[in-house]
Amino acid sequence: MTYRAEVFVTLKPVVNDPAGLTIRGGLHALGFESVKDVRAGKYLSILLDEADEDQARSRVEEMARQLLANEVIEDFRIELQPEPALAESRGGGPS
């Protein structure tokens, strides 16, 4: 089964985020005065083949811990779903 994992990597709340602060300043300068806080982060989209959803999630968690995030400074969040187009073509569904 093919899954698409979306991994969101963000600085931990206790870590100062100068890029986020700079973006907030830019938004304020544009007149978006309601903006109270901006945190910048990274977004990764990963396509992978795994037996089932649990297996896919645990593999992506391993990837995040080993490489995608640095847990000294970053947190991560994973969103996972089956990749429909690829799943159908693999399953040999109706053309």
Binding site: L11, V15, N16, A19, T22, L67, L68, N70, V72, I73
Partner: protein, 233 residues
Amino acid sequence: MKTGIVVFPGTWSDRDCAHALLEVLGEPVRFVDYRERDLGDLNLVILPGGFSYGDYLRCGAIARFTPVMNAVADFANRGGLVLGICNGFQILQEARLLPGALLRNASCEFRCEWVQLRVEQSDCAFTVDCRPGQVLRIPISHGEGNFFADPHTLESLEANGQIVFRYCTADGRITPEANPNGSLRNIAGVANARGNVLGLMPHPERACEPLLGGDDGLAIFRSAIHALNRVAV
């Protein structure tokens, strides 16, 4: 003594480090390719500055998984001297051979300028030629040098004497104005608990001759040489 200078794709300070050691100090050097798995008879390993793997994902995150880094970790665990400069410092942190992490500069700007460092520890292999409180003038050149560690780690670094350099004024005062990147407690360089692995953001190899504007950086290379010779004797 034999020094190995590790070259990753995107490393750029390897030749400058070789110049400082070979041309200025007369020490033999060998370039070590990132694919090598055996460091041979090296006594000192330098991870130089640059942009290994284009700084993709995080500075040093990809270089950390190259074959040579297993050899560097073994070498460090056996007590070998390892010096990480700038991107080399970032790689050593990613490899968990040094504590903390280096965030984007607080200014969000790349900073290339001369700074002053206060030597906080002179019993580290890389500062044995220095006296505590001595001020070294060495340039920085980085966008991500903002030292961070959680409060518990910071306290243990202080207690164990692992903070080797702090950014300071010309007369050795630790002030916010002397801090070029927002590093916690003005930290510019830290060692591991054993004291054989040092990482620092400033570039000692760029301060190795008066022609370059100063030669204070030589103190760090000379210290390593003397520390190794002392062990050999």
